[in-house]
């Protein structure tokens, strides 16, 4: 057990952060359209050139470094489908150049990245397909901080031999949990800063115990999600993946309500960054649910119920 970054991990994350400071971050998301952003192809290109998108070996059991990169990307509000590439594609070992989207077989309706994707990973009960749509999937107007497409009537075929659906679903859960952790930490940090600066009744509002306790519980919830997600990325265990996503989903509800609440009206303004992270959580949670209720999956993985 070692809860600290080793020197290699440290160096990778430092390089990713440097890249993001120039080509990512909330300012970049604002440029791309804010809560209604376009896909950041430029960022993907730079990440790919630097080798950050295929950091996990194909079929590798341990994808911890990839998860650390993803958490960093998500914490900088990247408008990118790097999560699926970093954590899910290594299970499939397929060749896709551009962005990928990921949906459950039964899914129709909005899905992140679908309109920008070169291919969709479609997870069924016991098979996984890689669908390359013959025409562009239409965009959906969405204001949750992600580029979204409208999935319906996907073509048949594209079954990937020897791709275990359960394993792919587990890695999708790790990816979603990790992305949630990045976005939640962003929201929490900006809120801690806000309540430390903002004064009412001649004191920082962050000195009120009601606010302190509310944020302390948020922080405990996010920390729990982070370490479970990292452990799941390390072991690849389906049970830990389900627990990580359950913890992240539950935490995201607290984070969403409380970070907005403690911002007062400021949290509503579009030029302020808070909503860019919090709204994203709603989309992530809905994708989590579309893979099967996380808490039920956790109970199922542990006891078969």
């Amino acid at each position: 057990m070692d809860f600290t970054l080793d020197s290699h991990q440290e160096a990778v994350l430092e390089a990713v952060r440097t890249l993001l400071s120039r080509h990512g971050g909330p300012a970049r998301l604002h440029d791309l359209g804010g809560d209604e952003p376009g896909y950041d192809h430029d960022l993907d290109k730079r990440l790919a050139e630097a080798g950050f998108l295929d950091i996990a070996e194909p079929r590798s059991a341990c994808r911890l470094d990839a998860a650390l990169v993803l958490e960093t990307l998500s914490g900088a509000l990247a408008s990118s489908a790097a999560g699926w590439r970093l954590l899910v594609l290594p299970t499939l070992d397929v060749d896709v150049e551009g962005p990928v989207a990921l949906v459950a077989e039964s899914h129709s309706g909005p899905a992140r990245f679908a309109a920008d994707a070169d291919a969709l990973v479609v997870i069924g009960d016991d098979r996984v397909r890689l669908v390359r749509p013959d025409r562009r999937i239409p965009r959906v107007r969405s204001r949750l901080g992600w580029p979204v497409g409208e999935v319906s009537g996907l073509p048949e075929g594209g079954v990937i031999d020897e791709a275990p659906a359960a394993e792919v679903r587990a890695w999708a859960r790790v990816a979603l949990a990790t992305e949630m952790v990045g976005a939640m930490q962003f929201a929490l940090d900006i809120t801690v800063r806000h309540v430390s600066d903002r004064r009412q009744f001649d004191r920082a509002i962050g000195s009120f115990q009601a606010v302190q306790h509310g944020l302390a519980e948020c922080s405990v919830a996010v920390e729990g999600a982070r370490w479970l997600a990292l452990e799941a990325a390390f072991t690849g265990a389906a049970s830990t993946a389900a627990a990580a996503l359950t913890q992240a989903s539950e935490a995201s509800k607290l984070i969403f309500r409380r970070t907005h609440q403690y911002h007062g009206a400021m949290g509503f303004t579009r030029e302020y960054d808070l909503h860019l992270s919090t709204l994203r959580l709603l989309a992530l949670r809905s994708e989590a649910e579309s893979l099967g209720r996380p808490a039920a999956a956790c109970a199922h993985e542990h006891w078969g119920i």
């Binding site: 600290t4 920082a204 944020l215 389900a242 627990a243 109970a299 006891w303």
Partner: protein, 380 residues
């Protein structure tokens, strides 16, 4: 960063499990006891004696005092395995986790000679005399007064909620030795024999276990100066240091996870159908135990690196209390009307979860510490 157990830790765990499977076959009935209850205290003497023979009672102590040089990770494994079996060490987990180490750190050679071997042998019970009627969360306001008279302190006052007070041999007692000084600076630790004249112990019937806790009344109790632990008036820092790692010393999450596991398995064995809402509650509770586990591991990792205590311990404590509560909710949902049966899993877990947020530092105090030390939110 990596989350593997070493071969050594794995084989230690499996050795422990084999031992426990033999020693506590099936469901050990003592596992129903609640922290602070004296129900199993007598059993604990026998059990701790067995552990001592195997070198597993105080493995993390220096060899000089009966230790085997176990790492903090091995100690964590030991705690997990024992807590998930209902903590058969009973009150003695306190002795080995913090009372003994505190005596080692601050005791005179005579005190070490006198107190440590019985702890390491597993046949002594200590209680902790901190809380008073007027001093709960605000412990530093304690008033039990110790006045120097020759070679003794003469102690007057009272302690309350003292677990094991009726069966303990010794008490780790906090007293005020300087009434004038700033309140944190006038406190000392005294090691008191529980058969001292002038000490009256009265049980307080409680809702956690048959014997819950006690009240101690001290009237002119004479405690030799030689029994003072550490310098006079420096008791506050002595006890803070002693308890700094204790927040994760009791891996409550492991016991909660075990209770949840047994309750789910019972429901499955009895062929009861588990409705989707209950399945969700079970998944959320299991998750909370898992999150608490990782947050405790982070603290153990810091301890293994010899880092100073950090607010991550408070984060872990909050997560453990939440896990106990969510497991209580899940067990209640799983067992339905069984909660009316005294001693059912759901009944017991409800009681344990209530104690979790109060005993050994309240939930709110942990949140205060997380917000100030971890989030660095401003003070008023």
């Amino acid at each position: 960063m990596e989350f593997d157990w070493t071969e050594e830790d794995l084989s230690y765990r499996s050795e422990l499990r084999d031992f426990l499977a033999e020693e506590l076959p099936g469901r050990w009935e003592g596992a129903t006891a609640v922290l602070g209850s004296a129900d199993n205290a007598e059993y604990s003497r026998r059990f701790a004696g067995l552990l001592a023979e195997k070198g597993w009672l105080t493995p993390h102590w220096p060899t000089e005092w009966g230790g085997t040089g176990a790492t903090p990770w091995m100690l964590a494994v030991l705690g997990e395995e024992l807590w998930s079996r209902g903590e058969p060490r009973g009150p003695q987990y306190m002795n080995v986790n913090w009372i003994g180490p505190s005596i080692m750190a601050h005791g005179t050679p005579e005190q070490c000679q006198r107190y440590l071997p019985p702890i390491a042998a597993g046949d002594v019970i200590w209680c902790q005399g901190f809380s008073e009627p007027e001093a709960g969360t605000d412990l530093a306001s304690l008033r039990t007064r110790a006045v120097l008279d020759g070679d003794d302190y003469v102690v007057n006052g009272s302690k309350i909620w003292t677990s094991y007070g009726d069966i303990a041999d010794h008490c780790y007692l906090l007293v005020r030795t300087d009434a004038q000084a700033e309140r944190h600076l006038g406190i000392s630790v005294l090691l008191m024999a529980m058969d001292s004249p002038g000490l009256v112990v009265r049980p307080i019937p409680g809702m956690v276990g048959e014997h819950s806790f006690t009240e101690l009344f001290l009237t002119d109790v004479r405690i030799p100066v030689a029994n003072r632990l550490g310098p006079e008036n420096e008791g506050w820092s002595v006890v803070r240091e002693a308890l700094s790692f204790e927040r994760v010393g009791a891996p409550r999450w492991a016991r909660a996870a075990h209770v949840l596991d047994e309750t789910v398995r019972d429901a499955m064995e009895q062929g009861r159908s588990i409705d989707p809402v209950t399945v969700e509650a079970v998944g959320v509770a299991k998750t909370a135990c898992e999150a608490a586990r990782m947050l405790c591991y982070r603290v153990i990792d810091e301890r293994a690196r010899d880092l100073p205590p950090s607010p991550h311990a408070n984060v872990a404590r909050v997560a453990m209390v939440q896990a106990e509560r969510l497991v209580a909710d899940a067990c209640a949902a799983l067992q339905g009307n069984e909660i009316m049966r005294y001693g059912s899993d759901s009944d017991l877990q409800m009681r344990k979860s209530l104690a979790a947020g109060v005993a050994a530092g309240t939930y709110e105090v942990q949140l205060n510490l997380v917000s100030r030390r971890h989030l660095r939110l401003p003070k008023n």
